[in-house]
């Protein structure tokens, strides 16, 4: 079989081939491994390939085809490198965890395995998920498969690029301020950030605990639904995980019901700086939805401008504390020093990259006595206002539609020297993350061969409605899943 045949595949399609004995899990794993070997020297989506174990696991499965296939049976999955995988390195894209091999699986990894998935490898990311381009990886950047000169977005750039280039059928990412949705938009794939608390964070290396949420990156919305069913649900190991049963596809409204919903368009998400093509494409789609009978209303989220600023107070504050454990004492990198202080200093100086250091310093500052009220506390108050904005807006409509990003995938090196410019890339994804509400990015078209992401935001635990509209849109737009040529300029 040729991998290109899988271009439009859902998990159900693979399962059909398995059942018809036209494909075995081992053949499938081998096909993806071949694809990775062929393309990943250019893309650099993977930091670690779990080749031997994946083949062994696939072989075992190939020998024992069950009558009833568990939801992800036999399917390889790529996992962002900040999600702990037992006996498989988990570096977070950082030098400081270069040799770290967790002795345990994250809850999401356990659930993937239980559902029959096979771990293909670990994907590249901005160090500790801090960044929007994957350029902050200590192991070199990932390239956008649509145009290798451009970034795939970040921080889950490796996961998004691998799914985009069909090096993996789907992947896990993590989203703190947009790290799943923005790279999904840049790579033309589907990226879901569920409600905070929908999926357990146990085993996900913390960046900003009150914002971190596991997300999925898939080639179609249908697979997102399947993954959310597998991954969601209460976990006794995570106090912040909601005590609700797993998501079920029965929560998704029918297309007829979707036609009756009201979609809000927040005016603050169409600022002057928005890339023209993106704004226009979103407007076109809104018109199409109107044509389908869906009511479109304008809404306002007045504190949008402050969301980004408060995010860069709250997230670094939590990060400064979460990253304190990388001190060279128990695991990871240690650079010997003249004394304890010196060891700490040398280890953290050498082990952390520039952006991570920048955020540790920012966060340490805003938590310091004398500055706490002025920064951290104020940041948290603004966060509440941002949340209230969404509550108000979502009283007037069921879901919100916005662009995922203000710009198209940019060139490597273009924004890395200007952190503020880089931060602005997440201006549309940060507010819903601050509010803890679900949102999804899906491809809605191309501009000069580069994908444009459309962003849907919903109320807390209303993934059903969110995915309902995403499925509906996917059908209306009828765009083929990406299969880029992987070369140094865009495809069209």
């Amino acid at each position: 079989m040729n991998i290109e045949e899988f271009r439009g595949f859902t998990i159900g399609d693979y399962h059909r081939l398995f059942k018809e004995k036209k494909l075995s899990p081992l053949e499938l794993v081998n096909l993806f491994l071949e694809r990775i070997k062929e393309k990943d020297n250019k893309i650099h989506a993977f930091l670690f390939l779990n080749e031997e174990k994946a083949k062994d696991e696939a072989q075992k499965k190939a020998e024992n085809l069950p009558d009833e296939l568990p939801p992800l049976w036999g399917l390889p999955v790529a996992i962002k490198d900040n999600i702990c995988t037992r006996d498989i390195p988990t570096t977070c894209g950082s030098k400081i965890l270069e040799n770290f091999v967790p002795p345990y699986d994250a809850t999401v990894v356990k659930r993937l395995k239980k559902a029959g998935a096979i771990i293909l490898g670990k994907t590249n990311m901005d160090e500790f998920a801090m960044g929007s381009s994957t350029e902050n990886s200590a192991y070199g950047p990932t390239h956008n498969p649509f145009d290798l000169r451009r970034v795939p977005g970040g921080s889950s750039g490796g996961s998004a690029a691998s799914v985009c280039s069909l090096e993996a059928p789907f992947a896990l990412g993590s989203d703190t301020g947009g790290s799943v949705r923005q790279p999904a938009a840049y790579c033309g794939v589907v990226g879901l950030r569920p409600t905070y608390g929908r999926i357990s964070r146990y085993g996900v290396v913390s960046f900003a605990s009150s914002l971190d949420q596991i997300g999925t990156i898939t080639r179609n919305v249908e697979d997102t639904v399947t993954l959310l069913e597998v991954l969601s649900g209460k976990d006794d190991r995570d106090s912040t995980c909601a005590p609700y049963p797993p998501f079920g596809r029965s929560e998704i409204p029918t297309p007829e019901e979707i036609r009756k919903i009201k979609v809000g368009v927040p005016r603050e998400y169409f600022p002057a700086g928005l890339e023209k093509a993106i704004g226009e494409r979103i407007q076109e789609i809104l018109e199409e939805l109107k044509g389908e009978g869906i009511e479109i209303v304008e809404v306002s989220l007045p504190h949008t401008d402050y969301a980004l600023e408060s995010y860069y107070i709250v997230a670094p504050a939590e990060a400064s504390s979460n990253l304190a454990r990388y001190d060279g004492v128990m695991y990871g990198l240690r650079v010997e020093g003249d004394n304890l202080q010196d060891m700490y200093f040398k280890t953290r100086t050498l082990g952390f990259g520039k952006e991570v250091k920048r955020r540790i310093i920012l966060g340490t500052y805003s938590l310091s006595s004398g500055y706490y009220d002025e920064y951290y506390l104020k940041g948290m108050k603004v966060r509440t206002l941002v949340k209230q904005d969404f509550e108000e807006a979502l009283k007037k409509c069921d879901l919100l539609i916005t662009p995922t990003t203000p710009s198209l995938p940019f060139f490597l090196g273009k924004k890395i020297q200007d952190p503020y410019e880089m931060y602005l890339n997440d201006m549309f994804t940060i507010p819903s993350a601050m509010a803890g509400i679900p949102s999804i990015s899906l491809n809605c078209g191309y501009e000069e061969g580069l994908p444009i992401g459309l962003h849907i935001i919903g109320g807390p635990f209303e993934e059903g409605k969110l995915l309902g509209l995403a499925l509906f849109l996917e059908k209306v737009l009828a765009l083929p899943a990406p299969f880029p040529q992987v070369k140094e300029d865009s495809n069209e």
Binding site: N82, Y104, Y202, S206, T240, R325, D327, M330
Partner: protein, 481 residues
């Protein structure tokens, strides 16, 4: 020379008696365990691990807070206390800050016979850190190891207001606090093993303003608390009298040399950057739970002490000694059920029972002597079936062998001398044999009577009751005149 008032406040940490650690399922039974054998990704703070609160920790701390008459806040929050140290795997300690479990309580206790009250500022819960090991563990030279068995063990911190005015008071307050947590089953209160730790803040002043506060640490027994604070009083008094400044600092008690030593200056105090732990949700304590725990609180040491004073007519000192150990107080009351002579039972427990326990190096719960067995023995003494001296030696054997008094008496062939006539015969024999002593006694030398009593006891191989022997001697001697 001016008079100085001493002001002391205590910060007491006690290990809460839970089977599992505060945020994971690891065992808390770390004493004598190999380093790093009671650990998991959570208490080691491995990347990705998350804490989940052990509800039992809240229950126990709540019990302590309520016993200390604290107000329970409707919503409690865990904060992170950030600092770097190798025994702190996460680089922060999960603790409580401005929303602890209890605030504004008080504690009453007796000090030198006078009832005192100290206000309790707060009761909060936090996790313990690990322990640095400087030798063993097959460490290379000049290196230290970290034992994380203690990481994540639940602690309650109880902070008093600076209401204590002497080292004695501080010690007595701490003893009462220890008794309370033991009575509640909240902690085993063992200072030597570190399950109860006490730091003190102490200042001296000759005016109504408070003096400069010095923090004293590393006091590992009640005696150490008393000695360290007494040392500080003298040290600070001397400085003030000489017009020298007192620095705000932390000082460590050096038990061996009996001095406090400056540890670090508070001026360069760390900024712990407290903030609410985003991994743990705020928790609220329901009124119903408070009521439930309140209704289940046992009789506390002070109540019991005062009941012993009124019900059994014991002195405050006697009552205090008994209630200091809940098991002793229980033993005392259990003995009274079979032999209702409080004063006599109290005397025997606080002298003979204590002596035997000390010699055997055991606690009352480990002893082979039951309250019923002690009551049986004391009844025989009371009926003058055996002498006190004999009873003491029988009790000793009871503690060693676990046999009951009557068995020991039978085995030793001790005949019980309760017959006054028989004793009178022995007395007459003794009088006959010791004419000189009799003469001395009759000429007014009281000492001679003691000698004669001793002789009677010798003749009876201690089986006579010395009181009875004395009475008979006096009676017979007076008829000699």
């Amino acid at each position: 020379m001016s008079n100085f008032t001493t002001t002391i406040g205590l910060e007491v940490h006690c290990q809460l008696l839970t089977k599992a650690k505060m945020f994971c399922h690891c065992s808390t039974d770390y004493i004598g365990k190999e380093p790093n054998t009671l650990v998991c990704p959570v208490c080691l703070g491995l990347p990705g691990s998350l804490p989940v609160l052990n509800q039992k920790v809240v229950d126990l701390a709540l019990r302590a807070a309520l016993a200390l008459h604290c107000q329970i806040l409707p919503q409690c929050v865990f904060h992170r206390k950030n600092y770097f140290y190798p025994d702190l795997p996460k680089g922060y300690q999960i603790s409580q800050y401005n929303l602890p479990i209890g605030v504004d309580g008080f504690l009453e206790f007796y000090s030198q016979g006078v009832k005192k009250r100290v206000r309790i500022k707060r009761v909060h819960i936090e996790e313990d850190a690990g322990k640095l090991i400087h030798e063993g563990m097959s460490l290379p030279p000049d290196t230290s190891g970290v034992d994380c068995n203690r990481c994540g063990i639940p602690l309650a911190e109880m902070v008093t207001e600076p209401d204590l005015s002497s080292p004695e008071e501080a010690r007595d307050c701490l003893m009462m606090l220890r008794n309370i947590v033991c009575y509640l089953g909240v902690s085993d209160g063992n200072m030597e093993e570190g399950s109860l730790r006490c730091d003190a803040n102490i200042s001296l002043s000759s005016s109504s303003l408070l003096g400069v506060k010095v923090e004293v640490k590393n006091m590992n027994s009640f005696r150490a608390v008393y000695r360290a604070l007494s040392y500080e009083v003298e040290r600070q008094k001397k400085l003030l009298e000489e017009g020298k400044p007192i620095f705000q600092e932390t000082r460590h008690w050096d038990e061996v040399n009996g001095v406090t030593v400056s540890a670090r200056s508070k001026e360069e105090a760390e900024d712990y950057r407290y903030f609410p732990d985003p991994d743990l949700l705020p928790f609220s304590i329901k009124e119903k739970m408070i009521e439930e725990i309140k209704s289940e609180l046992p009789e506390l040491p002070l109540q019991r002490e005062e009941r012993f004073m009124s019900e059994y007519e014991l002195s405050q000192g006697e009552a205090e000694i008994l209630v200091q150990d809940k098991e002793i107080a229980d033993f005392f009351e259990d003995t009274l059920r079979d032999f209702n002579e409080p004063r006599m039972v109290c005397n025997w427990i606080t002298t003979e029972v204590f002596k035997n326990l000390k010699e055997l190096g055991i606690t009352i719960s480990q002893s082979k002597v039951t309250p019923a067995h002690l009551a049986e023995l004391l009844k025989m003494v009371d009926k003058k079936e055996i002498s006190g001296t004999i009873a003491k030696s029988i009790l000793e054997e009871m503690f060693v062998s676990g046999a009951r008094a009557r068995e020991i008496i039978a085995r030793r062939g001790i005949s019980l001398i309760s017959d006054e006539k028989e004793l009178e015969n022995i007395v007459r024999e003794v009088i006959e044999k010791n004419p000189q002593s009799v003469a001395d006694y009759l000429s007014g030398k009281e000492k001679a009577l003691q000698f004669l009593i001793g002789q009677v006891m010798k003749e009876t191989r201690g089986q006579a009751d010395p009181g009875m022997a004395k009475n008979i001697l006096i009676k017979v001697l007076s008829s000699e005149e």
